[in-house]
């Protein structure tokens, strides 16, 4: 044991009966030393959060401890009485969570919540000095107007600010070890950048040990000193950041690295430019009313959008949450009615279409949604879900079912999937089914609305590949909506950056990445995690990108 702050030694945890595997963790060993950031990286279900929870003794009841030790500062936590661990929590051992939205008590002022962390562990401190300390912490984590921020309620703060509060709370008692469980995953990319920088600088200032849990190799590349790769509850590989990232020994690690999107060649825009879809001065304002007598809030989702998509082109619309990109997709399909403006599809006015025309239009323009769990009718067999479309357009039942089976195979599922229900499939499989459903109508135009955002990175890569293959085969025109510039870069010919219902920049992918004209685009680009690392790597490495 190399003078470690935290040492986990062949820890095994059992999952309850009926889970997809027996052990949540299988003989996991890792160390965190003072003044270093250890990144624990893995896809969903790898058991990375289990480790964090096991350290703090916060495991769900159903998960049982089997074997192994957790040693912190020379103390065996696995055998410590509950009271002792509780004394460590929040003082020497602190943790921050993924969802800043839910991790704070919505009914208490954030200052109180941070103060609670202090007086829970130190009964000798006066109320006054506690509140001073809270303000001090707030200014350390970069909250604007710390003195006022203490009396805010969580709902009055933005996601990034809440995460700063969480960090302040974790640092309240100067912990030796900070465990951060996906602290930036729920944040927009620019906010994520700020929080990552904050954690890194605070770590350096205080010489803390940090166990940083993430699924994003880019994030790992940005902040890790050492990396532990976890898969199915087992440590696949661990070592220093540069070892692992530059020289992965394990095939899985390599696969993860390869799956990171946005690293291949930027696509060059196609030659001929026949516009398939033209949008001009499209406007939509939402009037939001919370509660019966609350005041109205107006949100501009589209403030005069101008956009044109050429045949055969893949256009990515990139924006942070609330930029209006999903509303745009829905307005194009008339799932939401625009307030004003024009949408022309092949020169036809979509907004003026009658029922018959609209139906025909929707056959030709299809959509794949973000949430693979919500976009399939839970009460229908997936085959029926796919076949419904052709049937609606006059295919006989038998033809439609044949089409459905054919498409199930084509998206990489077995035709036998036809008779099964959505809940029997994984997220990636469901997204394939959704793609099959969309394409079974033989459309010309496909909208993918954050179609890969909910997926693990390796699955994401597969689905992206599937989409781009199918697009090529069918000559589709595609509108790809995403919050992730890397994904956009992976698939798009042209990229549109949106913010607050406006188009900030519209440029061919290449141009946008190489010479963005707008500050906002630049800040987005700068915020992409691991950008520098991969940029360096792409120069040195010999084109291992996923593109042919």
């Amino acid at each position: 044991m190399s003078g470690g702050l935290l040492s986990i030694q062949s820890l095994s945890l059992a999952l309850p009966e009926g889970a997809d595997r027996k052990k949540a963790l299988d003989a996991v060993s890792l160390d965190v030393r003072p003044n270093e950031i250890v990144c624990l990286v893995g896809e969903s279900g790898s058991g990375k959060s289990m480790i964090a929870h096991a350290i703090l003794d916060l495991l769900p009841r159903k998960v049982r401890y089997l074997d192994g030790d957790i040693v912190f500062n020379g103390k065996k936590l696995t055998q410590a009485p509950a009271g002792e661990i509780r004394r460590l929590r929040g003082s020497d051992l602190a943790m921050i969570f993924q969802e800043p939205l839910t991790a704070l008590n919505p009914l208490r002022r954030v200052g109180e919540q941070v103060a609670e962390a202090i007086y829970t562990h130190r009964s000798d401190v006066s109320a006054k000095s506690i509140s001073q300390r809270v303000i001090e912490l707030f200014s350390q984590v970069g909250l604007p107007d710390p003195a006022a921020a203490v009396s805010a309620f969580p709902f009055q703060l933005s996601g990034g600010q809440r995460q700063r509060v969480m960090i302040a709370m974790a640092l309240a008692n100067d912990p030796a070890l900070l465990i951060a469980d996906e602290p930036t995953t729920a944040l927009d990319v620019t906010t994520q950048r700020q929080i990552l920088d904050l954690i890194r600088s605070l770590q350096a200032e205080r010489g803390m040990g940090v166990l940083f849990i993430t699924h994003d190799i880019g994030v790992v590349a940005d902040i890790a000193h050492r990396v532990v790769v976890l898969r199915h509850g087992k440590v696949v590989e661990q070592g220093t950041a540069s070892e692992i990232l530059n020289n992965p020994r394990d095939a899985y690690t390599r696969q993860l690295m390869d799956a990171v999107p946005g690293r291949g060649h930027v696509r060059a825009g196609g030659g001929k430019k026949t516009a398939l879809l033209q949008i001009s001065d499209l406007r939509k304002t939402f009037v939001v009313k919370q509660g019966l007598f609350a005041k109205y809030r107006r949100v501009d989702a589209a403030a005069g959008l101008e956009l044109s998509i050429s045949k055969g082109e893949t256009l990515a619309v990139v924006g942070e949450s609330g930029s209006g990109k999903s509303t745009l997709a829905r307005m194009i399909l008339r799932l939401i009615d625009a307030d004003s403006g024009q949408v022309l599809f092949n020169g036809e006015d979509v907004r003026g279409m009658g029922r018959v025309a609209l139906r025909e239009y929707r056959r030709r323009a299809q959509i794949v949604f973000q949430d693979p769990y919500a976009s399939l009718d839970p009460r229908l067999r997936v085959g029926d879900s796919i076949a419904r479309g052709p049937i609606a357009f006059g295919s006989s039942r038998r033809e439609a079912e044949a089409t459905a089976r054919k498409w199930l195979e084509r998206v990489g599922l077995d035709a036998s999937a036809f008779d099964r229900f959505p809940h029997e499939f994984s997220g990636g499989q469901r997204q394939r089914i959704c793609i099959a459903r969309a394409l079974a109508l033989d459309p010309e135009f496909l909208i993918a609305d954050e179609a890969v955002s909910a997926l693990d990175v390796s699955v994401q890569a597969q689905v992206l590949r599937l989409l781009s293959d199918l697009k090529a085969q069918m000559g589709l025109t595609m509108l790809f909506i995403t919050h992730d510039l890397r994904v956009a870069r992976e698939i798009a010919d042209r990229i549109v950056v949106m913010r607050n219902g406006c188009i900030v920049e519209d440029a061919p992918a290449e141009t946008l990445f190489s010479s963005p004209t707008e500050d906002y685009t630049r800040s987005l680009l700068a915020a992409v995690p691991g950008r520098k690392f991969f940029a360096d790597q792409d120069i040195t490495a010999t084109g291992t990108g996923i593109h042919a």
């Binding site: 003082s91 602190a94 969570f97 962390a117 009055q156 969480m166 709370m169 007598f293």
Partner: protein
């Protein structure tokens, strides 16, 4: 400005509600078989032609119905609820006389059910899956399914007739006329126990179930985990981070149940001869004293609206998200 607008909306809503109730009243009286004047007059209807004339003139019953409706609404607006020919008294006087005991009963039951529900629900939720949870849940289910009036009778049977611990009926002992204020209050309280328990039982069951599931839900929320990660002790977590959050839906529910609570008071007051609006309702029903019934309906609705405003206030106290919105 904003707040004025909201208050304005609120008042408009209340006025609209009262208007609708008045319209329902009006419609019902006119839908009743027979002459509305006779309906209003009750027994006197057939017996005394002068009364009928008086009523017809007063309510403009010889005029077209919009005029009649207008006349009625005008009367309601002036809190003129008509005259009970059965009781020979102004309906508004009759109702005001009985308002106090009803308020005492319903408010006690309201808070009793709320406090009891939160307490037992929290207890059950805390001991999720243990025998005490099962026991509380079972009792809650049973109480939830028990007809209020029957429960009242059974309580009387046990506590008043069998054990003679508590008075079975009434608001205050007849001997209370000689009591000091303190003993008087004590005597009212003794009389209040059974009816209040009866009336609150079903709601206590509802709130217990709600509080239980709500607490279980809250206990799985991230911020509770945050508190644990801070090292806060379990008891303090329950107090500071779970109870209030879990009680929110209960308060919402309680606000929505006020109407039902007042409806329940009708039967409970009947069972316990509690001299409130409910008992008055029962008497008016047995005598088919329509002016009184119509007035009661209106007043009870207004009462519900008032208590709704009150729960809104409570809600504002508990949930900062609404308070500062």
């Amino acid at each position: 400005m904003e707040i004025l607008l909201r208050i304005g909306f609120r008042i408009a809503g209340i006025v609209l509600t009262i208007f609708l109730i008045a319209v329902i009243n009006f419609t019902l009286v006119n839908a009743a078989p027979g002459d509305p004047a006779a309906v209003m007059a009750g027994q006197s209807g057939a017996a005394d032609e002068t009364f009928l004339k008086q009523i017809r003139a007063e309510y403009g019953l010889d005029k077209p119905w919009p005029v009649q409706l207008g006349t009625y609404l005008l009367k309601v607006a002036q809190f003129d609820l008509g005259y009970s020919f059965r009781q020979r008294q102004e309906v508004s006087d009759l109702i005001l006389e009985r308002l106090g005991p009803t308020l005492v009963l319903t408010l006690s039951a309201f808070f009793l059910s709320l406090i009891g529900g939160v307490f037992f629900g929290a207890l059950a939720g805390r001991r999720h899956g243990k025998w005490s949870d099962v026991a509380i849940s079972m009792v809650a289910l049973l109480l939830y399914a028990t007809p209020v009036f029957w429960l009242g009778l059974m309580l009387v049977l046990v506590f008043s007739i069998q054990f003679e611990w508590l008075p079975a009926f009434g608001y205050v002992d007849i001997r209370a006329s000689g009591f000091s204020a303190w003993n008087y209050a004590l005597d009212v309280a003794r009389h209040l126990i059974l009816p209040a328990v009866t009336l609150s039982a079903i709601y206590m069951a509802v709130y217990t179930r709600l509080m239980r599931s709500s607490l279980i839900e809250v206990s799985q929320e991230d911020h509770v985990k945050t508190a644990r990660a801070k090292g806060v002790a379990e008891g303090a977590i329950l107090r500071r981070h779970m109870l209030r959050n879990a009680a929110l839906p209960v308060v919402t529910m309680a606000g929505m149940q006020v109407g039902a609570l007042i409806g329940g008071a009708v039967v409970v007051e009947t069972v316990f001869s509690w001299p409130g609006l409910g008992r008055l309702t029962f008497d008016a029903v047995t005598q088919r004293d329509y002016p009184v019934l119509l007035g009661l309906f209106l007043v009870m609705s207004i009462l519900v609206i008032a208590v709704n405003l009150l729960t809104d206030l409570i809600y504002r106290l508990v949930d900062p998200r609404i308070a500062t919105q």
